[in-house]
Each structure stands twice: as C-alpha cells, then as structure tokens.
C-alpha cells in the first residue's frame, strides 16, 4: 500500500475495521505519522470486490449458502453457521482453522480477515444511544456506571454521521435520538400496511425505516446507493460505510498513513521505566517472522475479542495478568445482542402491489419496554427493538408442495403472497462470568488462542419470551394471517447462541474507578496513559440498538493541538469504536455547546487554514521565515499557490518543520490540462487532498470557454479521482455573470459538473461582491462546497477587502450553512493587505472566537 515500513511511528493503530479506520483517519488528519496493522490480507477498494454485481449464473454454485456440512466450508466451521457465509462473500470471512478459538459453551465468533475487517460485511444499521442506556447500569445497580452521558457524545455522533452519511427518518423519540440524516429509504407496501396496523393499535410504538450507513444522496465524493442489494460483496461506488470507502481515503490522502497487512499482533510492549507502552510485537502471517514497531501512542481497535486477546497476552512483571489489567476485568463482562425471536405472518389485500430495486435495509421498531414509566415496566430489565421486512414470495415457494410442469412454471411466473417477519434485538446484561481467557493452545503464529465462556442469563431468556409474544401481538394487530412466533434458541445448542449477533462488547469496560474498569471515559487505559482501547470492548452495557459509532478521540485532538506526546496522560478521548454508541466528552465540543457565541455544528478551528497567496511576497523572499510567522499567527493548515521555485518535496519538508500541513493547492487550468499527472504528483508529494482550479484569465472568459468548462472539469475531476485526489473550482465575481447563457456561469458549472467528480471552493467575498449571499448559495447546493475562502468586505460602495470578522459579511451564518452542507476546509485569504501577517492574525483571532478549537 504505502512504501517501506519504518519501525517508528507517532501512532500505531491495531486493526483496520470500523474503529481502526476511524482512528487512522483522525490521527493522520491531526498530523500523526501512523501505522495501521491488520492481520488479514490487503483488500483494495473496487478492485478486490471480485463478486460485486455478479449474476447468479456466473457463480458455479449460484451463490449457495455454505453451511458447515457442505464442501467449501471445511475450514470455516464457525463462520458457516451464519447465513451470511455464501459463495459470494466467503472471501471476506476468516478461516476458522487459521484463527481458531475454544467454546466452553456455544459461541459463534464471526471474524473478518482483511484490511477493512468486518466493515466490508457489516449490517450497516446505526442508531444513537440515549440516556436510557447510559444511566441504566447506575439506576439498576448492574455493572459499573458509564462515565459519560448522552450530552457528552451527541456532538460526536453528529461529527461521525456527517462523515459517514446515515439515512433515516427523524422520530423525536427520547429513547432513540435522531441524528443528522440523509433522506430515508422507502418502505414497501407490505411494510407500510403493517406500520399502519401496529401504530393504530399501539399508540406508543413506531415503525420506521432502518437507519443505515448507506447513502441515499451523493455524499463527500461517494455515490448514492444504486440498490443492487448485497452490500456485503463490497461496493465500488462506496455507497455504504466501510473503511475502504470512507475512512481510509482521507487517511491515505494525508500521506501519513502506512498500512501493514498480513501482520498479526502478538502483544503490546510495555516499558516499566516510563510506565508507557513502547510499541507492538507483530508476526508476519506469511513468513512467521517477528518484528517490533515503536510508537508514542497505541490505539487498540482489534475487536472486542481480538483486543482482549492482545491485552491478556501482553504480560509483563508489572502486568502479570495482562496489560492494563490491574483491575482484573479484562476479558470479563462479554456481551452480545440476542435475537432470532420474533414472528412472521401473511399479509392479505396487496395483490396489486410490488416493488422494484434491491433495498439493502429493512424496518425498525424502536424499544417500547421499560422506558421509565409504569405503563412500560416489565418483569425483566432493559428492552429490545425489532428489525424486519416484508416481501412477496418468489419461485422458491414452488418447492413447498406437489406440482410440476407447465402449471408450476406458470404459477411461479407470478409473484406469491406478501409476508412480513420481524425479529427482536435484545439487550444483554454484563455478567462477570461471561468471559474470555487464554487457552493453553496457541495458533500457528505462536499466540495463545481464546477460550470463550459465554451464555445468556435469566434476564435475556425472560426478555425473549416477550420478544416473541409482542411480535405475534403486533403482526396480528396489523391483520396478518397465519402468524407464527419464532424463537431459535436451543438450550446448550446452536440456533441463537451468543456471538451470532456479531455485536460483541465489553471485555475492557469503561468506568470511573480504575479498580473496577479498564479504561476511563476517554477510552484511555487507567493503567497506561498512552494506550487507548477504542472498540466494542470498552462498552459498560450493551443497549439494544445496533452499536456502531466512531468518532475522533479527545486524545487525538490533544495530539493535534499540542503535538506533545508527553502530555498524553492528561488527554481524554472520544472513542472510535465498533460496538458502541460510545458517549465520550470532548472538551471543545462541550465548550461549543456551552458557549452560545460559537457557530453551531462540528466545524472547528482546526479545519481553518490560510491561502498562502495572501503572503506571496514574503514567501517569494523567505519561505522558512514566512512559514514560521504563519504558524505563529495560529495556522497549521495551508492551501498552496505556487511552489516558489522549489521541488515539492523540499516545500513539504519546510511545512513539516513548522508543523504545517497542506490539504489543498491552486494549480492553473492550463497546467492541469497540459500535464495533469505532473500536477497530481506535486499535490500528492505535498500531501494534498484537493487540487483547485483557481482563476480564469480575462482572455479566457468567453461563452465558448464556459460552454466547454463543465465537461473539461468533469474530465479533470475523473483523472484526479483516479489519482486519489479531488478537484475543486474556485470562483471570483465574473462567474456570477451570464456570458450569453440564460443562467449565470456559476449556476451552469454547478448544474453541469458531476458532484462526485467536481467540488467547489466558494470564495464568499467574491460572491458577496457579485451580489449573492454566500450562505444562501451553499445552502442551495448541499454537498457541493467542500472548501471556502474567507475574507471580508468593507461596507464602502467599492467593497474593499477586509480582515475576516472586521467587515460586513455574516460569517456566522456563512460558516454555519456551509458546515451543514459538507464543508471540509476553509482558508483565510486576503488578496491585498498592507501588512499580510497582521491581517492573517486578525482574521485568525476572529475565527478563534467563533469556532471551537
């Protein structure tokens, strides 16, 4: 993936799944040179989705489910227990013979074994937790109290949702908070019918479309879902969230990420002198060679069970029971969601209704038990929600009874009955005796394997009865016929055993007290200040909702802000995690909520940079000295405009020296069209994400130019995309004229360029000068303006340049609107200034007063 591996990094991320990808993105974007270690093979976005869009007849077994008793499942005896293990998805599951474990009681451990981990094959349902979840342990005296509450994590949910892209419907329910949703997917006729029936009979229950990390609109360079159906084969348009589609590209774009596949972590190395971890010990899975990598901070994102295994195997004289395990809780309190209890039934009266397209989603019925009032109180603790879907039977029904020949063929030509099924997903309580330990046996890499001892308890079993009966009651209330209740659980057997939910949680739980928990409210190990565990293992309870959430850590924010690893111990983090709608406080976000002067939303000062054009004269004389002044004025992010007769690598070195990174650069259209590869190489050498067309010479501003420009930008955008970059167009005032068209050039550029290929850098000043309020423009074209230029205008009729916040443009409204509509970076610029350094300082000071740090 990236060049040769050095042995020392700023940060190491163990695992490349949902949380590892998030950690890598956040760390690298904050300037840390990061190594991401993955035990499985490389999977390249697009290229390695070899089964995507394959027709059934192109597969020898017609996409058969590979159950344990069939050929092809010999090495996958656990993975094959799940319905997801098929001819088309087999390549994304681990071989159980390669990564074995022991089951004391039946426990199905589903594992990925590739870059991207299970983010490639996950169910994509994402729900926010509420304080009903965060307060449950404390109120009921079960487990340990969460050290965080909903208000702490809410801004981070938003941050993550805005990046991931989550579609769904807002309901206003306290137990299932709304998020920042893309438009919801549609329900089908059967589901609408059942929804109406349930909501008529049970006033407090709601049926909604699933909230999924699947795009229903183009989003951040990723395309809207095209409804091919089986996401789990991989999606080359990046329409569902995976590491490959969503977190890896920005991390790679920083030029600071090294991905190390085929490398399994044996243990984390602890240095008793410094009381910190020094690095990790890794086994190459192909050669079995062992190697150590060092880093100043380690993020453990290897999955709930994988991370527990690594901690338990990282023994030292200080931590004889495993790293960061002075409390003894590591490996205990394993949880999963229990499901496969519900009901199915036949819907009548919809014979003339059907659907088209393959929707990778179903319906959701939010929790309605034990909401804190008398009416919803149950004899068991906690609650459950339902997932489900309706469909018409197809040709498969021909196998259920006698019949053959022309008559059978005619019958199967028509769609069959509508049926609807729902299954509960229930919360599981944390129990100390649900645990994992290290076995005496080792795997082929010499690492002790896990011994898993986990079962459902009386509370789960009592809840399942209600999950089944309530499902029957609701489907019958909706008028369905032949309603049948189901519960797949079998005492001591396979069917609905723990693990099948694939929502493992809890083996390194979070808490306030180091004696009873492994990590603090920021996912930082109580015992080891530079070790962070940011996956499902930190969950102190399980909730009943599908648990995904990632976010940057406050730890990471601190590293970014201070670049001071020695102060890691004082840092607090917001977790990036699978298995968690983890709520973590974030000081700056909290400050944002508390200070009404701040611009609402997740856009921060860290995303504000400087367009170096502002200081071009000084740069042309003294790059080193000018960059020192730029950094001194508070800027650690810049957009370039020229290279000052230096090789890009030299310029990059100077940026690095001053703690400055560049994410965008201006490159003349003529250069881009003459030699795109040269420009792209320069941009990538500099570590940039965006190449921006800055300006059209007056001689070029003709009707012909503006007629051809959209397609030329599309072409350049496609080439940039192919090179791992993004293209943007930066405006002045002339684009707000019509040049012979019926609409302005700006409107034509926005309408006729492909949103997935061409972004825009809105210069708010020039728009304002041309008579257009920049806030209105970004709101009118959501998702198109990833970049902004910030400079103010005087009130004088000639609208002269002014420092940001010192003129008449409403930047609060402008930035708030832009950040709601896909803003990534904003650059201060003042084309002409008497004292550029004083000017950029004044602009920065203003922005620091209205943006969270």
């Amino acid at each position: 993936m990236t060049g040769t591996q050095e042995s020392e990094y700023d940060a190491i991320v163990i695992g490349s799944g949902i949380t590892g990808g998030w950690a890598a993105k956040e760390l690298t974007e904050k300037g840390l040179r990061t190594l991401m270690i993955e035990r499985g093979r490389e999977v390249v976005h697009g290229k390695d989705y070899t089964m995507e869009h394959k027709s059934t007849w192109e597969m020898p077994l017609r996409n058969a489910r590979l159950s344990p008793d069939k050929q092809g499942a010999e090495d996958y005896q656990v993975q094959a227990r799940t319905g997801q293990f098929r001819e088309s998805t087999k390549q994304f599951f681990t071989k159980d013979t390669k990564h074995p474990y022991e089951e004391v009681k039946p426990f199905t451990w589903v594992q990925g074994d590739q870059v991207g981990g299970k983010s490639l094959i996950w169910g994509r349902q994402v729900y926010r937790w509420s304080d009903l979840d965060f307060e449950a342990n404390a109120k009921e005296g079960i487990g340990v109290d969460w050290p965080i509450r909903y208000k702490d994590i809410a801004p981070w949910y938003s941050y993550v949702e805005r990046h991931v892209g989550v579609s769904g419907e807002k309901l206003g329910l306290p137990q299932l908070p709304d998020g920042e949703f893309l438009p919801p997917m549609q329900m089908n006729a059967g589901e609408k019918h059942v929804k109406a029936g349930i909501e008529r009979r049970f006033k407090e229950r709601r049926v909604t479309i699933g909230r999924v990390a699947i795009l229903t609109a183009n989003h951040k360079g990723r395309a809207a879902c095209h409804y091919c159906g089986p996401c789990e084969r991989g999606c080359s348009t990046g329409s569902y969230f995976s590491t490959q589609a969503s977190t890896l590209p920005p991390a790679m774009a920083t030029g600071r990420l090294t991905v190390l596949p085929d490398s399994i972590v044996h243990s984390i190395v602890y240095d008793p002198k410094s009381h910190r971890v020094a690095g990790v010990r890794v086994v190459d899975t192909r050669t079995k060679a062992t190697r150590e990598y060092k880093a100043k901070v380690v993020f453990l994102c290897a999955s709930t069970l994988g991370s527990a295994r690594i901690l338990l195997n990282s023994k030292s004289s200080t931590f004889p029971n495993g790293l960061a395990n002075s409390s003894g809780v590591v490996g205990h309190y394993l949880m999963d969601h229990h499901f496969r209890a519900g009901a199915t039934g036949r819907i009548e009266g919809l014979a003339d209704h059907y659907y088209q397209g393959n929707r990778p989603n179903g319906i959701y019925i939010p929790r309605f038990r034990n909401l804190g009032d008398v009416a919803t109180k149950q004899p068991f603790a906690r609650g459950f929600g339902y997932q489900g879907s309706a469909a018409r039977a197809g040709w498969g029904r021909g196998t259920s009874g006698p019949g053959l020949g022309v008559q059978l063929k005619r019958k199967l030509h028509d769609a069959g009955d509508w049926t609807m099924g729902i299954t509960g997903f229930g919360e599981c309580l944390p129990r100390e005796d649900n645990k994992v330990t290290l076995s005496e046996r080792t795997d082929e890499f010499g690492i002790p394997i896990l011994r898993i001892d986990c079962s459902w308890g009386p509370n789960e079993m009592a809840m399942r009865k209600d999950m089944r009966q309530s499902a029957i009651d609701m489907l019958e209330a909706a008028g369905l016929k032949s309603v049948v209740g189901t519960d797949d659980y079998k005492e001591g057997g396979l069917g609905a055993e723990p693990g099948l939910g694939i929502h493992e949680m809890g083996t390194a739980r979070m808490g306030r007290d180091p004696k009873t928990s492994a990590v603090n409210g920021f996912c930082q190990a109580h015992d080891v200040p530079n070790l962070f565990v940011t996956d499902g293992s930190v969950m102190a309870s399980a909730s009943c909702v599908n648990p995904l959430r990632g976010g940057p850590t406050q730890e990471e924010e601190h590293l970014m802000d201070r670049r001071d690893f020695l102060k890691v111990s004082g840092a607090a983090g917001l977790a990036t995690m699978w298995g968690s709608s983890l709520a973590c406080a974030h000081s700056t976000a909290a400050a944002g909520a508390a200070n009404p002067a701040l611009i609402p939303g997740g856009f921060t000062l860290a995303q504000v940079g400087l367009q170096l054009y502002t200081v071009r004269d000084a740069m042309s004389k003294d790059v080193d000295g000018t960059l020192a002044s730029v950094a001194g004025a508070g800027y650690h992010l810049v957009e370039t405009a020229g290279l000052y007769q230096r090789p890009a690598a030299d310029l990059r070195a100077l940026f690095d020296k001053h703690g400055i990174r560049t994410v965008s650069g201006h490159y003349p259209l003529v250069d881009l069209e003459a030699s795109p590869e040269t420009v792209f190489t320069t941009a990538k050498t500099l570590g940039q994400e965006y190449v921006v067309v800055p300006f059209l010479d007056p001689s070029l501003r003709t009707a012909e130019t503006f007629g051809s420009l959209p397609s030329r930008l599309n072409k350049l955008g496609e080439a940039a995309h192919g090179a791992g970059l993004k293209l943007a167009y930066h405006n002045h005032d002339f684009e707000f004229q019509k040049y012979g068209g019926t609409t302005t050039v700006m409107e034509r550029l926005l309408a006729n360029t492909d949103p997935t290929l061409v972004s825009f850098e809105l210069d708010g000043y020039w728009a304002f000068k041309a008579g257009t309020a920049p806030a209105d423009l970004v709101a009118r074209y959501p998702g198109r303006f990833a970049l902004l230029h910030l400079k103010d205008s005087t009130a004088a009729p000639e609208k002269a340049f002014a420092d940001v916040g010192h003129g008449v443009i409403d930047f609060r409204r402008f930035i708030a609107a832009a950040q709601r509509n896909g803003l990534k970076y904003a650059f201060v610029e003042r084309d002409v200034a008497p004292d550029p350094i004083a000017s950029i300082k004044a602009s920065h000071d203003y922005l620091a007063s209205v943006l969270p740090a």
Binding site: S55, Q186, H226, S236, T237, S389, P402
Partner: protein, 241 residues
C-alpha cells in the same frame, strides 16, 4: 490504498444494467455470454459426477418439472449440468450417494412400471410416473419440518428468497445447522420416501431460476438503479427472479 478503481454510480449502473436490467438488446448480452452459461452450454463440457446416462436422466426429469414453453425449459437452461456441479462441488459424499441412489431407484421403478428405462419411455408415460412420485413426495408440512429440520434445499431457497426480495435483516436464518435430531422414526421414514424427488425439484428450480435463461428470459432479475417501494404489480407483471 488506491482509489483508481472507483467508478461512479452512473458508470456502475450503466455497467450492470447490461447484466441485470429489464430491457436488454440481444447484442448487449454478448459480453455476458462468454461466462458460465456459455461454458455450461459448450460441447466440450464434462460432467464431474454424473455419467452420460445419469445426466440424460436428470435432464429429462428436470425438463418435466420446468418444461420449455414460449421460454426455455430446464434442459436448455443447463439444469442437469448445474445438478452435476452441485453433486461434485457442493454436496459431500453422503448426500451425493443418496441422490444417485434416488436416481437409480427412479429408473428401476420406471423399468418395473413402464417396462422401459425412464428415458426410453414415452414422454406421456414419463410425466405420468413423475406426477405420481410428486404426489407421494410431500407429506404434511409438519412432518416435513420435523424430518428435515431446516437444513434442506427448500429452506435454503426460502432464505435466498428473503435475501433477494429484500436484503434487509432476515427474520431468522432457517438454514442453520440444527442440533435437533428431528421428529420420530415414523415421520423420518415417511419423509425419507420423498427425499429424492423433493431434492430433485429443489435443484431444478434453483438451477433454472438462477440460470440466465430462467432469471432473464422466463423472469427478470430485480434491476438495480432505483428503489420503488410501492408500484402496481401490473406494471411488472411477473415475479422478480
């Protein structure tokens, strides 16, 4: 991580509409035909398990289950070759042997009742025999459920259907291996009687409706592109494959 392999949604849809779309020009299929279907139809195709007589027997039975009408039948769709692939590369020895035994028993019954091997009998006699076997092969659903606890082709297809019709969360995975030994001995024997023909019909339907002929000519694959949750059935007029 190279992003060079990204394709836009428009391209993806254009590319795959060729494969899955509802309206296809014959010429646009030529690119697709180079694949598995063509291989299955190739004259040099060789069976892995079935000998030529067995293969012909399977093809003949399958064609009775799904005959050619104004659209291709099971034989033209290569169902017998699909059955051979499943016997060779999917079922293990036990099930494979049980299936081959079932074939032999059916042929023996043909010789006894029709006075000729099955393939030599007249089509009318073949159909009469299969109709009788079909009627005998389906005990009550309750008995079947007990005897073949959810690990059968039938259940597998139910699962497959649920996924194909709506790839949302499945209510339960009916195809998991079951620790349940099933119902009593009587039920097992009753179910055992029809095992071969049920399996044969399951394989025929699976092989036919997942073939290019079955999925694109007889039916149509539910196309990608957009999702419409509630459209008149009349506007489609057939089941999605």
């Amino acid at each position: 991580m190279s992003q060079g392999n990204d394709i836009t949604r428009r391209e993806a849809v254009a590319r795959t509409a060729l494969i899955l779309g509802g309206t296809l020009a014959a010429s646009s299929l030529s690119g697709v035909r180079g694949s598995a279907w063509a291989r299955a139809a190739a004259p040099d195709w060789r069976a892995g398990t079935l000998d030529p007589d067995q293969s012909e027997l399977v093809a003949t039975i399958a064609e009775h289950i799904i005959p050619a009408t104004d659209t291709p039948g099971a034989r033209a769709a290569g169902v017998h070759r699909f059955v051979d692939v499943m016997l060779s590369n999917y079922y293990k020895e036990g099930e494979r042997k049980q299936f081959l035994d079932g074939l032999a028993q059916l042929d023996a019954r043909a010789r006894k009742e029709l006075g000729a091997s099955f393939v030599k009998a007249t089509p009318a006699k073949q159909l009469a025999l299969l109709t009788a076997i079909d009627a005998e092969s389906y005990p009550s659903p309750r008995v079947l459920e007990k005897a073949e606890p959810l690990n059968s082709e039938r259940a597998r297809m139910r699962d497959s259907l649920a996924r194909q019709s709506s790839t949302g969360p499945t209510v339960s995975d009916p195809t998991r291996p079951s620790a349940d030994g099933g119902g009593g001995e009587t039920a097992r024997r009753e179910a055992e009687r029809g095992w071969f023909f049920r399996r044969m019909k399951e394989l025929t339907l699976l092989g036919y409706y997942t073939s290019e002929a079955g999925a694109m000519t007889e039916l149509k694959v539910n196309p990608m592109g957009v999702y419409r949750g509630d459209i008149p059935y009349r506007s489609v007029g057939h089941s999605w494959a």
